[in-house]
Symmetry: C2
Subunit: 126 residues, 2 copies
């Protein structure tokens, strides 16, 4: 099921990833977000490659019991780093904003890149 | 694709519903959230039965372009009503919190019912 990560404090919605029972159990056990990577078909400890680990404070479930909401602290590779959740090096994955008038709407980036993705990862996304 | 509704001001995550292109276009045209009801297989103007309309301020798309984030004002049936997004009569659909220790965890309601669902709807959910 989809799992939303919301940042404690700022309350920004950082990202949505997927969780199954195993991922939820691993998240509870670690106290850090562990998602189910659909592309890799395995558990994905968020930050395992990037260092951008998410400390989990609270887990909620919605009324239909098919979406999770995690309250997290987004940690950086170093303590001095800004909060980066997105593999593009941005704070939040929701950086594209729908803009424009009757002439045609389009998605435009509305958040800066805080860190070059090439400096976050070796070859892989994580 | 999943669409998250986040309340402007409080920044609470209220609910997640589904949108297709048609629902997104209708949302933009109306300025109010129109989702795709998977159970009813039709466009669902949120609040059409409950009066709990969502005024949409901003629409964002994530990096994978498969999740939407709406910033909304949750309107009530009457101006004096509290902000209710959930069909259970609660503020947010994410009212179940994972609690408990090693003895076994469980989901427990963590938000009050603000309005009796029987008073929100006739026979149907909306």
């Amino acid at each position: 099921m989809p799992a939303i990560a919301q940042e404690q404090g700022s309350r920004d919605v950082l990202m949505v990833a997927w969780m199954n029972r195993e991922a939820l159990a691993a998240t509870v056990a670690r106290g850090e977000a562990v998602y189910w990577s659909r592309s890799r078909q395995r558990l994905w400890h968020k930050g395992e490659e990037s260092g951008h680990v998410q400390k989990v404070h609270e887990i909620r479930l919605d009324c239909d019991e098919d979406v999770l909401l995690l309250t997290v602290t987004q940690l950086g590779h170093a303590a001095s780093e800004p909060s980066i959740a997105c593999h593009t090096g941005r704070h939040s994955c929701f950086f594209q904003r729908l803009e424009g008038g009757a002439q045609g709407r389009q998605w435009r980036p509305a958040e800066p890149v805080l860190k070059d993705p090439a400096r976050i990862y070796g070859a892989k996304k994580g």
